[in-house]
Amino acid sequence: MKQLLILSGKGGTGKTTIASAFIKLSNAKAYADCDVDAPNLHLVMNHLSKPKRTDFYGLPKAEVNTELCIHCHLCIKNCQFGAITEEKEIKIDPFSCEGCGVCEAICPAKAISLKPMVSGELMLYKDNAVFSTAQLKTGSGNSGLLVTEVKKQMKEAIKETPIAIIDGSPGIGCPVIASLNGIDMVLIVAEPSVSGIQDMERIIKTAKKLQTKIAVCVNKYDINPAKNQEIEVFCEKSSLPFVGKIPYDSDAVKAINEGKCITDFDCLAGEAAKDVYAKTMELLLKESEELYCDN
């Protein structure tokens, strides 16, 4: 199984739109949404079946049994995260608590204990294709671990299949690194803007460290053709494959709002996406080629 990951650095570049187009064009039988903070892929993939739902347990958090508390305040004094306060009773803020266990260990009355917390939910759709996704609960951390579970869930649900497409998460932190783990190639969707270029460069740095095949494309390129040119020149200089550019297309926006895929009907963005798809697949299926420079 060859896994293609689609990343963008900053949000709003069209990562999910492109991922859904690729899934349709490749007729992929396995795909996943690793943007566990704000999953969107399910909105355009239109699965009719009900998904299997599994609770995801994240970092355990400290809870206090106020009956046992002797109000010595050792917990408050030693919590490095400001998570513990006292009004009438000791209160532990679950959003600030990092589950370090210092309060539990230091409490002379054994009034505090760490309890596992449900911090998200995994969903698995299994009909004509396997679709793995998840939603992190508002206010939780652990997105990296949940991302790993999403990919694991997808792989366990389908043993043999040629291609899997993974819609990644925005940013450059832990969830992105978790998405990059173990995949064959990453396609970076860049935005032609000052911030978009900066974020693209940071993603490339991270992907190179993990020794992954990299390719770059630009979405909504006509919003700033000069910036697009900058990206093409950058790719040339860095020996990174530039696999195409997709124009901004208001027909495409309309289609997406109606839950349709841009390659389902005639539109400029769809045509350009097909081209990017062809070039990306060629690179993905090529056997172990050095597609990045050794920096």
Binding site: G58, L59, N142, C174, I177, A178, G182, L210, Q211
Partner: protein, 122 residues
């Protein structure tokens, strides 16, 4: 001499696991006695630092060499400090890798990747 291999199942027919830190089990194989022991990898469900904890587990089992597909920087640091050499596996088969190791056909793992900081809770 003992070697460790991350594996998916507790069986000599199991494929070698692609991950090190989050492999479900480790095979500890004694080259001299041909004895094999499977241990649970307690690090697999860790919030973060799985590679470090797994490496500690391997070191505590008096292992001399690790055969793996890949290894993170943090785990590699632990192995270096413990004088445990890391070799790159050639395929999914436990048996073939053990034989290749005995025949001195395995090469040392060259590409150590950056830590994954899988805790992601911030």
């Amino acid at each position: 001499m003992k070697i460790a291999i991350p594996v998916d199942e507790k069986s000599m027919n199991s494929p070698v696991c692609v991950s090190f830190g989050r492999a479900p089990y480790f095979l500890i194989y004694d080259i001299d006695t041909s004895e094999s022991v499977f241990i649970n990898n307690l690090a697999a469900s860790s919030q973060g630092g799985a590679g470090i904890r797994a490496a500690q587990l391997i070191a505590d089992n008096a292992v001399d060499a690790l055969l793996t597909f890949r290894c993170g920087q943090n785990a590699a640091d632990v192995f270096n400090a413990a004088s445990i050499r890391i070799y790159k596996i050639i395929n999914e088969s436990i048996e073939e890798n053990i034989n290749a190791f005995k025949d001195e056909k395995l090469s040392l793992l060259g590409e150590i990747h950056a830590g994954f900081h899988g805790h992601g809770n911030r």
